[in-house]
Amino acid sequence: MKSNLTFLFILLFSFSGLSQNHFNTNGVHTKNIPYKVFYNATLHVSGDQTIPNGMLIIKDNIIVHAGAKIKTPENSLTFDLKGKHIYPSFIELDSNFGIEEQKKNKSRSPQYNTSKVGPYYWNEAIKTEVDAIEQYTFDSKEAEKLRKFGFGTILTHTQNGISRGSGALITLNEKPELQLINGKNTQHYSFQKGTSRQVYPSSQMGAIALLRQYFYDAEFHKKNIKTEKVNLTLKANITNENLPAFFSVRDRLAILRAEKVAREFNLQFNYYGNGDEYQDIATLKNSISGTVVIPIDFPKPYDVEDPFDAMYVSLTELKHWEMAPSNPHILEKEMINFAISSKNIDKEQDFLNNLRLSVKRGLSKAKAINALTIIPAQVINEDKKIGTLEIGKLANFIISSDDIFQDNATIQENWVQGSQYIIKESDIVNINGEYNLNVNQIIRTLSIKGSSEKPKGELTYNIVADSISSSGDLVIDNVTGKPIKVTKEKNVAVSISYEKDFINLSYTLAEGIYRMSGNINYDSGSWDGKGQTPEGKWVDWTAIRKEKSKVDKEENEIVYDTITSHKFNYPMVAYGWDSLPAATPVLIKNATVWTLEEQGTIVTDVLIRDGKIKTIDKILDVVDPSTITIDGKGMHLTPGIIDEHSHISISRGVNEGSHAITAEVRIGDVLRNDDVNIYRQLAGGVTACQLLHGSANPVGGQSALIKLRWGLSPEKMKIKGADEFIKFALGENVKQSNWGAQNNIRFPQTRMGVEQVYYDAFIRAKEYETIWQAYEKESSKKKSKAIAPKRDIQLDALLEIVNSKRFITCHSYVQSEINMLMHVADSMGFQINTFTHILEGYKLADKMKTHGVGASTFSDWWAYKYEVNDAIPYNASLLNQMDIVTAINSDDAEMGRRLNQEAAKGIKYGGMSEEQALKMVTLNPAKLLHLDDRMGSIKEGKDADVVLWSDNPLSIYAKVQYTIIDGIIYFDHNRDAQMQVDIQKERVRIINKMIDAKNGGSDTQKVVGKKERTHVCTSIDENEQ
């Protein structure tokens, strides 16, 4: 009863809708709008609700009934869909449908300011004012393609820039009045600056900083809208701020990064993911709150028959090929909300097949449908209009020949807002198989292979060979003793063309050409028609399918395959852990222990428990039975190596080398945990390092201090509670000496200018502080009326420096400018913490001593640029003799794994003692990083970050046996050897699977070079040393 009432209501409603038509009509008005009734179908109201033998009734563009069979209303057009299935049509969220792609202007000269004229944001990559709908024109060709995929509704947005403006919701109806659902539906972001030629940002950490500053600016603008100058970008942010937000990322780590921004500004982002979300799913699950839109363009198998080529398909790529189709299943299992996108897929068969493959890997059918229908509808708050087949919603649905998850099922019709679009069958139906071709009562076998677009036919026919025939063999009948006629099989090519249900065949036999045309009956798989023989005689012909090709048959049964490898998952690269490591007590017995404390170097036992060094003494009994005991006899135990200057483990840009000051960027925002160099450095005894911004500008970015906790998430690698550091740089890099001739614009171009950059920065920071202090002093009453100053994340960082809450590591070579920076600091009332590289430190060691700065230098580098021409390998030794805290650093992933050797050069060059030399890479860098209270020496109560060496650690013959961080054995030479074997086994296993897939007919991809490099090696990226 109730449903009938609703039905009546909709009926009335839709009539009233009719009078709203403002479009001009040429000629007599068409007024009759009949019902359209679809019956006898399996009706999938949503992924969760299926009605066998259901009925769907629509009027105009609206669903008026969806459910069990009811009485057909008057004035109905009816559609018998026996055996067929109706689904809500799919919703694509990740698209730039109808929006022309913009191209980047390729000038080489650096552009520092925006080229966009008008009251917009200062940075061109922030384009919030852009509305997709303003740039949109309906693209019929693309619409047709998307309808074939099963899509009815598309969310389109401009895929350009960091803030990309608003997205529009469009349906794929060809009539303009039935296209737009919501012109301002969503807002969009990414970390890519797109076509903006402005130099800033040049790195992902820069993009993050820009976005953060933009959100602070937008907040300020909103609060002070009356007094602020007009800014159309910031104004648009106010308009858009409550719309569902989407963030486009290129890998799963970027999701974690964007989530941090979201938390800072109390936003919720949904993500356009990359298909690698299954990796370290637990970390993703803990941080994400929105929905991930995932692609299903699973990688094709590589050509790996050549074992040499195969060497260049990394274990990560192999595993990703194997795991990618399980991504949807894993997200479902972990209850992470997701929608599915057809991004990067060109052919409708590939889209449906990949969807089916995901189901075979365990994705539920219900979730697969929902992820394409109601979930995307809900994410964009349009689930009242689209997403399911329910009364009142738009008549957006598809008709499938069968359960859509059956391999041979096809989408036959796609109805968009009540308009019918028939999917051209000839475009999608594959006619491969074996047929009995009957021409004029002669039956021969016709087999068809190849692609749907280019079928290849072959006719098998018999020829008669007897004793007379020149080509035939003479065969003697055993019984009669006489020559007999035998038949032989021969093949001839058949050319085939077909469109919809009309087909042409022709082939040439000895007697001449046969030409035939006829119809395809897709349901029965048979063809029939008329043809002409070589003699010109018209004959009847038929072709009856013998059986479906074997491949088809096997695929008809859904074989669930949820088996996936559990090897090398944390991170998913070679030498990754199968599962995350846990701490157990470790006892190292009888090793030569370099305590670097008063105890000196002694032979004793060391017990490690709860991540700390528990006891340094002879230990007779071990209480905890889980204790791992290592016989350290003849071996040397040292504190873990600490690298004061490292650039490993950083994503998408070590330098924000655009502006002279980029104090706002943070290396900590862009850590990656899947850099194999982390493992390699563990193998060299490194336990902690400072990941520094590059040296492209006088004030670079903020550092991250990490321990090499291989396998853990980026955030968990960070050293908690560590002091904050920042990179500064002097000399050739910051004045762009080696950047190429076109880089002569940015201030400073001389060392003279560098000094002024610093004074300007610190004076601005102090003024910023004054403004804030004045505001904070006000009573709360006055405060509520006053305008709070604007947050400036660059000045925040600079102010922290002035107030000794953030510490400088400054890239430096030449004494003049080193002296200058110490003067700047002195006059501003703070201290430089560390000069790094500091190759001319030996020339002004006395001044450094007075200032109280430390040094972190190279052992023996020089002569690679003009400003290091006076560098000497005795530098560390001299500074050490002058009682300056001195460290040796790597600045190089290769050197980073043998810093013990670099330290040993201190003995050669300048005669350090062995303990002094070892301190250069342990206790002294710990001091420079303010971590010496918990690292850098072997002392009871300090972190159990230690290395066991085969030999004196300063000898070139020393090899790392174990590297322990927080009491966990992260590197074990025995395990390393075993892993090398296991890596090969795992590779072979997957490679065999790939070859099987290829032999099973899968398309492959070659291990072929990309012509472009993924990063441009400009000096901005490279200039570090």
């Binding site: 990394s314 850099d675 002569a863 001299l878 050797q901 990309k1010 993924t1014």
Partner: protein, 439 residues
């Protein structure tokens, strides 16, 4: 540790050194006219043998005597100078093959870089004439025991010819050990790298590889055809410069690293019947070991202190390659091309040290710094080992020269001349030690 005996008997030498210092920085020393005996040092002969207590006699520029000191009796008057090296080590000069020392002074200063001529096929280009004997870098290299180098041009497909020099000369003519010892061919890369140093992208198969080989073959076809002329009417400098490589007189150094490249260059050698081929690089050479030894191809192995090529590779594979090649009987030696190669040449001994840590026999490691290198470069008749009749181009280290902890070169001879072991870095050190009153 300090051997007083050394100072006592070495007065004459010291006076030589002092007179050399009077010339200014690291001036080459005068021709040796003395007869010198180095006694009791542990001699690492270079051919795999070691003499625990050795007697090494030097006269003029030659080694005239190599004996076990325990079996050698001599009169003090037999020698002008006798130096007691008890507890010290004597090595043949370490040789730096494939180096740009003296061609490039400061990498980032374009005006000081002379290693890379423009063009694709430059067999006619010769490194020797650009070799700067007064480079400030070279003296910092010799103080670690490296006294000879193969000065090698870079760039293009054929970079030009290298020459072998010693590091104690007034000009390049004085310096030459062997002029134009061979041509350098850069084999195309079979694999293209993506990404950049801080974030390498995946390596992918190059689609220009076979094309690259074809271009090389086209050039060699032209060169072979050119040599068949009985009388040459028009001289083509490029093709003429190919003569000695094609006739088998000089070496063809093929710079190649990976499996496919090495496979193909062996075929190339056979196709053009090139007698002397040496691989420079050879990361995957061990995978073709049999082929290389049967075709008499040696390897100037890429820098040992390198990262593995592929993420799956043994983390320590670059350290282990010397041992693997030695076991496979491939003749190899060490080199240092790559980033910061000029100034880093002084670390050459430590690559050998690392190889020892990863299994290579110590004396084999020394051989790969000395005699193997000399053999591959075709100068083993003159240097490469401490043997009678060879040039007295040798040095003394206070301790094990392959370990930075103990490498301390206190005496070095080039063709019998005791060279000045000073450099601008030491001088700066002394200068500022004095300023700050340090000892």
């Amino acid at each position: 540790m300090i051997n007083l005996n050394y100072f006592k008997t070495n007065l004459l030498l010291l006076s030589c050194i002092l007179s050399a210092l009077a010339f200014g920085q690291n001036a080459p020393t005068k021709v040796n006219t003395q007869k010198i005996l180095l006694i009791n040092g542990t001699a690492h002969v270079g051919n795999g043998k070691v003499i625990k207590k050795s007697a090494i006699g030097i006269e003029n520029e030659k080694i005239i005597l190599v004996k076990d000191a325990l079996a050698y009796t001599y009169a003090k008057d037999d020698y002008d100078t006798i130096i007691n090296l008890l507890g010290k080590h004597v090595y043949p000069a370490f040789i730096a093959p494939n180096t740009t020392l003296g061609l490039t002074e400061i990498e980032a200063v374009r005006a000081s870089v002379d290693e890379r001529e423009t063009g694709t096929f430059n067999p006619h280009v010769r490194s020797i004439i650009a070799y700067n004997t007064d480079s400030k870098v070279t003296p910092t290299v010799r103080t670690n025991g490296i006294l000879v180098g193969q000065i090698t041009p870079r760039g293009g497909v054929i970079s030009g010819s290298s020459s072998i020099v010693h590091f104690d000369a007034w000009n390049w003519e004085d310096a030459v050990y062997k002029m134009d010892d061979g041509l350098h061919l850069n084999w195309p890369n079979s694999i293209q790298k993506t990404g950049w140093w801080a974030e390498p992208g995946p390596a992918k198969k190059s689609d220009k590889y076979t094309d690259g080989i074809q271009k090389i073959e086209e050039f060699f076809d032209l060169a072979v055809a050119y040599q068949t002329q009985k009388s040459i009417s028009t001289i083509d400098l490029r093709l003429k410069a190919m003569e000695k490589v094609l006739s088998g007189e000089s070496n063809l150094y093929i710079h190649a690293s990976l499996y496919r490249e090495i496979n193909d260059l062996v075929n190339f050698k056979k196709k053009y019947n090139i007698a002397k081929v040496v691989i420079v690089g050879g990361y995957d050479a061990h995978l073709h070991a049999k082929k290389l030894s049967s075709n008499n191809i040696g390897v100037i192995l890429e820098r040992v202190h390198s990262l593995p090529e592929r993420p799956e590779d043994d983390v320590n594979l670059p350290f282990k390659l010397p041992k693997i090649l030695a076991d496979a009987k491939v003749t190899f030696c060490f080199q240092n091309s790559g980033d910061m190669e000029q100034m880093g040449t002084r670390n050459l001994p430590f690559y050998a040290g690392t190889a020892v840590a990863y299994g290579l026999d110590y004396e084999e490691a020394v051989r790969a710094l000395t005699l193997n290198t000399a053999k591959l470069l075709g100068i083993d008749d003159k240097i490469g080992s401490i043997e009678e009749g060879k040039d007295a181009t040798i040095f003394v280290s206070e301790g094990d020269a392959l370990d930075m902890r103990t490498n301390d070169v206190t005496l070095a001879f080039i063709q019998g001349r005791s060279i000045v072991l000073d450099n601008h870095q030491l001088k700066n050190y002394e200068k500022y030690k004095t300023k700050f009153g340090l000892k």
